[in-house]
C-alpha cells in the first residue's frame, strides 16, 4: 500500500508539472490581459493532434517541438491582434465577452479536429512508450518523465524570461499595474501581444507533453480545462510559483485519490476540496 501510494504520488507530481505548465500560460493571459481564455486547453489539444500527425510520419514528439513552438507563438500573437483586441476595445465586460468568445473558438476547434480525425481517442506511440525508469521501489514511466522534463524546462525558461530580461520585466510590470506600466512608457499593446505569444507557445509545449502521457480526443480539452481552472484558482492569478505548486498539488491529489475512488470521480473530489478552500480563502492560496 505504501509503495502504491508513493508510486501514485510520484506519477501525480510528474503529470502535475504538466498541469502547472498549462495553468501558467492561462494565468499569464488572465493576469496581463484580464482575458479568460477558454480556448487555452483546446489549443493544447490542437498541438497534441499536430504531434500525432507528425508522429505517424515518423517524427519524434520532442523533435516536433521545433515546429510547434514557433508556430504557436505566432498563433498567439495573431490571436491577440486579430481576435481579442478588436473585441476587447469595444467590450463593456471583458470577462464575459472573452469567455463567450474564446468558448466559441474552442468549440469550433474541437469540432474541426473531430471532423478531421474523428471523435475517438488517439495515442501517440513512440520508441519509449511503455518503458520505465527504475528508482528503488518506484517505476517512473519514461513518457511521464519526458513530459515533466519538458514542463520543467519551459517553466524555468518562462521564469528566467519574466525575471531576468527587460521584456519579461515589462510583462510583469503590466501584470502588476497596467496604468503604472503605461506611465513608464511600456508599450501595452506590444507587451500584451508578447504575452499571448508566450502563453500560447507554452500551451503548445503542454499539449506535446500531454500527448506523451495520455490518450486524447477532441473533447479532451474540457477535462484539461477543469485542471487549468483548478491550478489557477488554487495558485492564484499572477503567480508562476503558485501555478507550479498548485499544479503539483492537483496532480498528486488526483492520482492519490484514484487509489481509493475511480479516476472519473477525481473532478468531484477536487471540486469538493475547492469548495472548502473557497470558504476558507476566497481568492486562492497564493494571492498577494
Amino acid at each position: 500500500m505504501l509503495v502504491q501510494a508513493l508510486q501514485a504520488l510520484a506519477t501525480g507530481l510528474l503529470t502535475g508539472s504538466v498541469y502547472a505548465l498549462l495553468g501558467a500560460g492561462f494565468s499569464l493571459i488572465w493576469g496581463v490581459a484580464h482575458v479568460i481564455n477558454i480556448a487555452h486547453p483546446a489549443l493544447a489539444v490542437g498541438a497534441a493532434y499536430a504531434v500525432y500527425a507528425l508522429a505517424t510520419r515518423g517524427v519524434d514528439p520532442l523533435a516536433s517541438l521545433a515546429t510547434v513552438v514557433p508556430l504557436f507563438f505566432l498563433l498567439g500573437v495573431g490571436f491577440h491582434e486579430g481576435v481579442i483586441r478588436p473585441a476587447a476595445r469595444r467590450a463593456g465586460d471583458l470577462v464575459l465577452v472573452s469567455m463567450v468568445l474564446t468558448f466559441g473558438l474552442a468549440a469550433a476547434l474541437e469540432n474541426a479536429l473531430a471532423a478531421i480525425w474523428g471523435p475517438g481517442p488517439r495515442v501517440v506511440n513512440v520508441a519509449y512508450t511503455g518503458q520505465a525508469i527504475r528508482l528503488g521501489v518506484l517505476a517512473l514511466p519514461v513518457p511521464h518523465v519526458a513530459g515533466a522534463g519538458l514542463a520543467a524546462v519551459t517553466i524555468t525558461a518562462l521564469y528566467l524570461f519574466l525575471h531576468r530580461t527587460f521584456p519579461g520585466k515589462a510583462v510583469r510590470a503590466v501584470w502588476q499595474n497596467r496604468d503604472g506600466a503605461a506611465l513608464c512608457a511600456i508599450n501595452l499593446r506590444q507587451v500584451t501581444s508578447l504575452t499571448y505569444g508566450l502563453a500560447v507557445a507554452s500551451a503548445g509545449v503542454a499539449g506535446v507533453a500531454l500527448a506523451l502521457i495520455y490518450s486524447f480526443s477532441p473533447a479532451t480539452h474540457l477535462t484539461w480545462l477543469v485542471f487549468v481552472f483548478l491550478v489557477v484558482i488554487v495558485g492564484g492569478v499572477g503567480s508562476l510559483v503558485g501555478a507550479v505548486v498548485a499544479g503539483m498539488v492537483v496532480g498528486a491529489v488526483t492520482n492519490l485519490a484514484t487509489l481509493v475512488i475511480p479516476f472519473a470521480w477525481a473532478p468531484f473530489l477536487l471540486f469538493a476540496s475547492l469548495g472548502i478552500l473557497l470558504l476558507w480563502r476566497p481568492t486562492g492560496l497564493f494571492r498577494r
Partner: protein, 320 residues
C-alpha cells in the same frame, strides 16, 4: 412592447396549436421557449446581479435527471414532476452556490464553469443514474401531434412563468438591490442591502427555473445522457443569448433567444451537426467581436433615430 401587444402575442401562442400549426413549427417554437427560459432565468443572476454563471447546464441537467429518475423508478409523469426538477436544481444551487457566491468577477465565472463540468463527470459515473449509458424514459402512447402539443404548452407555461418572474424581480425591490450589488457590492452592503441573501435568492430562483425547463426537455428527448444534459455548450448558450439581447432588461434575453434559436435551426437544417458547431462557434466569435454589448444598444439607436411623436409632458415636471 406594450402590455396589450404582449398579451396579444401570448394569446396567439396559446391558440396556435389549434389553428393548424403542424409538428415542425410547434417543435421549433417549443425549443425557442426553452431557450428563452434559459436566457431569462440566467439573466436573473448573471444580468441583474452581474454574477456571470457559466455552469447553468448543471441546474438544467439536474432538473432533467430528477424527472427522469422519478419516471423510471416511480412511474410519475414529468409533466407533473417538472416542479420537483426545479426544486432539486434550486436546492443544489443553494448548497453549491454559497461558496461560489463568495467569489467575485472572473473567479465566480470560472468556478461555476468547473461546477458544471464536475457535475457532468459525477453523473457520468453514478450507476443508479444510468452513468454513461444514460436513462431511457418511455413516452405515453400519444399521437405525435398530441405529444407535440403537450410539450408545447408545458414549455410555453414554463417560459411565461420565467418571464413573469424575471419581470417581477427586475421591477421589484429585489431588482433594485441586485442592481446595487452589480454596480458596487461593498457600497451596497454598507448602506444596508442584504447582499448575500439577495444573491442567494437570485441564484436559487434562476436555477429553479432552469431546472424546470430541464425536466420537460429530458422527457421530450425520452433518452437522457450527461453529455447533452450537462453540456457546457448549454451554459454558454444561456450567457450568449442574454448578452445578445441585453442584460439590463428582463425581456432582452428573449430577443437573444429567438435570434440564437433561429440561427441554430438554420445551421442544423442546412449543414450537419459537426459543421454547424464549427460555423456556430466561429460565428459566435465574430458576433462578439463586432457586437460585444449585444443587439439592444444598436436597436435602441435605430429607434431613437426614427421620428417620434412628441410625448405629452405633465406640466408639473417641466421646470424652467
Amino acid at each position: 412592447m406594450s402590455r396589450a401587444a404582449a398579451a396579444g402575442l401570448v394569446a396567439v401562442l396559446v391558440v396556435l396549436p389549434w389553428a393548424g400549426a403542424g409538428e415542425y413549427p410547434l417543435a421549433l417554437l417549443y425549443s425557442t421557449f426553452m431557450y428563452a427560459t434559459l436566457a431569462v432565468a440566467w439573466n436573473i443572476i448573471g444580468g441583474f446581479a452581474g454574477y456571470l454563471s457559466f455552469g447553468h447546464a448543471a441546474f438544467f441537467g439536474l432538473g432533467g435527471y430528477a424527472t427522469g429518475f422519478l419516471l423510471v423508478h416511480a412511474g410519475l409523469s414529468p409533466f407533473l414532476t417538472a416542479p420537483v426538477g426545479g426544486v432539486v436544481a434550486a436546492v443544489f444551487a443553494a448548497l453549491a452556490g454559497y461558496p461560489c457566491l463568495r467569489l467575485r468577477g472572473p473567479y465566480f465565472a470560472v468556478v461555476t464553469m468547473i461546477l458544471g463540468l464536475a457535475v457532468r463527470a459525477v453523473v457520468l459515473n453514478l450507476p443508479w443514474a444510468g452513468a454513461a449509458e444514460g436513462l431511457w424514459m418511455t413516452l405515453p402512447p400519444w399521437e405525435p401531434l398530441a405529444a407535440r402539443r403537450a410539450f408545447y404548452y408545458a414549455m410555453l407555461g414554463i417560459a411565461l412563468v420565467t418571464a413573469l418572474a424575471g419581470r417581477a424581480v427586475r421591477l421589484g425591490k429585489m431588482g433594485v438591490g441586485l442592481e446595487a450589488i452589480r454596480e458596487d457590492e461593498d457600497a451596497a452592503q454598507s448602506i444596508g442591502v442584504p447582499a448575500v441573501r439577495l444573491k442567494m435568492s437570485a441564484l436559487i430562483l434562476s436555477a429553479g427555473l432552469t431546472g424546470l425547463a430541464g425536466g420537460i426537455y429530458a422527457y421530450d428527448r425520452s433518452y437522457i445522457h450527461p453529455d447533452f444534459m450537462f453540456d457546457l455548450h448549454l451554459s454558454v448558450l444561456a450567457v450568449l443569448m442574454a448578452l445578445l439581447g441585453g442584460r439590463q432588461s428582463w425581456a432582452g434575453p428573449i430577443l437573444g433567444a429567438v435570434v440564437v434559436r433561429l440561427v441554430d435551426e438554420l445551421l442544423t437544417v442546412r449543414v450537419g451537426t459537426e459543421a454547424a458547431r464549427i460555423i456556430f462557434g466561429l460565428g459566435l466569435a465574430l458576433v462578439i467581436v463586432l457586437l460585444p454589448d449585444g443587439l439592444l444598444p444598436h436597436l435602441m439607436r435605430l429607434r431613437r433615430r426614427a421620428p417620434r411623436p412628441p410625448a405629452a409632458v405633465p406640466a408639473a415636471v417641466v421646470r424652467p
